[in-house]
């Protein structure tokens, strides 16, 4: 069934009797050509592109909980391609281009909204670094603008220009960046994959990997053994746990990142604003909630919840930048499980086990990468070759001394 305005009106007039399930709930088959572990954004997008672009058949996505329940179900919805390093920027720009046509392609309104992202800067040195980054963006085919204080003031007059600890000296603006409705992205990919014949299997936790003679044969699950020609792992914060089943240690730590949403408010913040000096970023959802966040809590955690000091820290950042938010109320906070890598950049690669592939290390920035992450992982699974924009995301880059370290923080995940 195609979705469109006429269908919505017709169903409205006829009592919504014609709607069909967005996806099937198939039982797992004994074997698939390709099994994707993880039904979050990465896994669903991978399955979608495998089936639609790379024309693979016999694909299953195994999800231990509910589809879209990974970090794509809990994030601050920002999409952008404003990176600096050549290993990153073309990949994220590729992702941005996929965002721009996503909804028409999947026939699902994921509410991709190019409202712009503004990174504020507060010193000459930061401005120079932004210039270097903005130029890298333009050189990769993306858009970027360097704003001075007045231009920032025109965009967002309510920012704290007068009494700020860190005076606003300008900002790096990417107009094509913005937000997307995170659940809508997951559901769009899930529905698209299902329509292309992918079996999406929920409540199916992988409990073991069957490896013989150094090659993957299949996966043990809570719903029985499933044979697989290839297995792609896209489980974000659980990467270490799953790959441990294959005896692999990863350059990853799992950390908790809190995110926040306010009560619904009439429109007041148009685009995305980030305040690096104060660990705060914010946008406003279509429903009216301010969606905001800050730094990770900073310690390894699988608890999926954070602590009060970070809540206070983020709110202080909010108040320092936008004193007008004092009477907006925090409605809900949640803690996500982040697969923080040693250089802050992801891994899309083969592994020492034949037929076992890894897509991990997205830190707290996986959402914006969802389309390209899925596409590039599908490319690797289908062709055995890395996608041209993802050639740097190798697992052996640490051994070889080729990290992709945007922040220059070194091998300490909680600093990225």
């Amino acid at each position: 069934m195609d979705f469109n305005g006429f269908r919505v009106v017709w169903e409205g007039l006829t009592g919504h009797r014609g709607w069909k399930p967005l996806w099937r709930d198939p039982d797992p088959k004994p074997a698939y050509d390709i099994v994707i572990i993880g039904g979050g954004g990465g896994g669903l997008a991978t399955a979608y592109y495998l089936a639609t672009v790379f024309k693979e058949a016999r694909i299953a996505v195994l999800e231990k909980g509910w589809l879209g329940g990974g970090n794509i179900g809990r994030n601050t919805t920002i999409i952008r391609s404003n990176y600096m390093l050549p290993g990153n920027q073309p990949f994220y720009e590729f992702s941005m281009k996929l965002w721009e046509t996503l909804e028409q392609e999947t026939n699902f309104n994921s509410m991709v909204s190019q409202r712009g992202i503004l990174n504020l800067c507060h010193s000459d040195g930061q401005r120079d670094a932004f210039r270097r980054r903005g130029n890298a963006m333009i050189l990769s085919g993306a858009d970027a603008e360097l704003l001075d204080t007045d231009a920032v003031r025109q965009m967002y007059p309510f920012l704290n220009f007068d009494n700020a600890r860190f005076p606003i000296k300008g900002g790096l603006l990417q107009r094509r960046a913005g937000t997307a409705r995170h659940d809508g992205v997951a559901w769009g990919y899930a529905r698209g994959a299902d329509r292309a014949g992918v079996d999406l299997i929920q409540n199916c936790e992988v409990t073991g990997l069957r490896i013989e003679a150094g090659a993957i044969k299949g996966v043990e699950t809570t719903r029985g053994y499933i044979g697989a020609g290839k297995v792609g792992v896209a489980v974000a914060g659980s990467s270490s746990r799953v790959m441990q089943m294959a005896g692999l240690r990863l350059p990853i730590e799992s950390h908790v990142l809190q995110a926040f949403v306010s009560e619904g408010l009439k429109p007041c913040i148009d685009g995305v604003i980030t305040f690096g000096a104060g660990h705060f970023y914010v946008s406003q959802s279509d429903k009216g909630g301010l969606v905001f966040g800050g730094d990770i809590d900073g310690y390894n955690s699988y608890a999926q919840r954070g602590n009060l000091p970070v809540v206070e820290d983020v709110a202080e950042g909010a108040m320092a930048l936008m004193p007008a938010l004092g009477r907006a109320r925090l409605l809900r906070s949640w803690g996500g499980l982040m697969d923080m890598s040693m250089d802050g950049s992801p891994i899309i690669d083969t592994t020492p086990v034949d037929g076992l592939y890894l897509n991990a290390g997205w830190c707290y920035g996986g959402f914006k990468a969802t389309p390209a992450s899925g596409y590039a992982f599908a490319h690797l699974l289908a062709t055995g070759q890395p996608h041209p924009t993802a050639t740097a995301y190798r697992l052996d880059r640490f051994a070889r001394g080729l990290p992709i370290d945007e922040k220059g923080m070194g091998a300490q995940p909680n600093l990225h």
Binding site: S240, R249, S254, N300, A303, P309, M342, F398, A411
Partner: protein, 90 residues
């Protein structure tokens, strides 16, 4: 979170800076570059008990090895890193 400092008692975790897995205290010999690279970059990252390094930066500046459950944040103990390292060396 509260960290039971072995000398100072319960202290707010905000006084500390986090580093990570306490295995960082035990680098392999420098004549094995591959082992050293793995030491720097790879982690067990357990969902469960983790021995980890915290620096009492806003306090007495001692490094502690804290044993904490990463699933529940329950802290089972904290020791001075110096003591642990000396014991390990013996």
């Amino acid at each position: 979170m509260l960290i039971p400092h072995p000398l100072l008692g319960l202290r707010d975790a905000q006084e500390f800076t986090y580093l990570g897995d306490a295995s960082l205290m035990s680098p392999p010999p420098s004549d094995d570059p591959e082992a050293l690279e793995r030491h720097v970059h790879l982690r067990d990252n357990p969902a469960g008990l983790l021995r980890e390094l915290w620096f009492h930066e806003q306090g007495d500046r001692s490094w502690l090895v804290v044993t904490r459950d990463t699933r529940t944040h329950e802290i089972l103990g904290a020791e001075l890193a110096t003591d642990i390292r000396r014991e390990g060396a013996r």
